[in-house]
Subunit: 215 residues, 2 copies
Amino acid sequence: MKIGVLGSGMVGVAIATKLVKLGHEVKMGSRSATNEDGAKWVAATGKGASQGTFKDAAAFGELLFNCTSGSGSLPALESAGKDALGGKILVDIANPLDFSGGMPPRLSVVNDDSLGEQIQRAYPNVKVVKTLNTVNANLMVEPGLLKDATTMFLCGDDAASKGKVQEILKGWFGWQDTVDLGPIAMARGTEMYLALWVRLYGALQNPMFNVKLVR
Amino acid sequence: MKIGVLGSGMVGVAIATKLVKLGHEVKMGSRSATNEDGAKWVAATGKGASQGTFKDAAAFGELLFNCTSGSGSLPALESAGKDALGGKILVDIANPLDFSGGMPPRLSVVNDDSLGEQIQRAYPNVKVVKTLNTVNANLMVEPGLLKDATTMFLCGDDAASKGKVQEILKGWFGWQDTVDLGPIAMARGTEMYLALWVRLYGALQNPMFNVKLVR
């Protein structure tokens, strides 16, 4: 499948690398078509890997991943443009973290809105599915790195798209336990969970952890 | 041990009942010394159970539990008064949930403050230890009701008091896996986690769940 990955940071590299290993053609999108991190990734990854602007990546992919930072997500999508985004599935992994006051970061959107909803409102035709935002980049694509199976949450307004993303989570990345929280507004819950995640990271001094939902 | 339990709702009843079963003398505190829920609890529980005002319960206990609602916590503690609270350990279970806009509730304090910190600032001599606020009342005192062991977080500024509360969590209530997040400011994380908890409750239609931290 042709897949567009928006963002060339740790999350974008982890997702894009895994997708290429699975045999997909992946275009990594950045502000510039000659982004240095993107170029390094293309060189290191080889066949199946390419890079371009956010618009190039969005136009290329039949399926899209938003791997930009929370503050960069709406600008990146605006740069991609409505035409390139079309009515595609956008797996939204970004968290609205504000590091301007130091560590741990604040959440810049809480309670009555979420980044996932902001994206969905701005691009009503896009099928936004929020998931993978509750774990470290390495765990996103290899949850088996932890000694026990853990849980991945997802939410979104379009049931069929959530079904496809659940298949991707399970079949491509190895998430055996996924929990559908409901519509995209449930992103308020998984994004605000980051307030606990960043403090657990501080207490454990290691980002390789996740929660298993026992019910 | 003589223990004061502030609050006569579901959480207060669950905690106080368990403590009496463990052989402790428990005074349940409410706004009125003749509170109806408190009277029912005393009648149902018998030996070891008594009730009184918030001030009566705080003065009675060598150890205190804050089981009031989030919006009722500071008024209850003000009613108890600095003298009765003294320099005792206060296990703070309350969450700053605001139900005025319907379900799911909002968090009335986020990001830069928490209810745990508000209580600690208002009563600097009290040893506030925030814990148990991330699970349903029944699970607080019987985590074995779930099929797998799960995790309980705690935080507070006084290390010795946290150590005692960890012993209580483990020895009295059965929490084998406790995670000390650090100072009371870490309550921002466990309180904001409630934004996910309330949505999980909605999705699962059952409050009997918790997370196991896999690391």
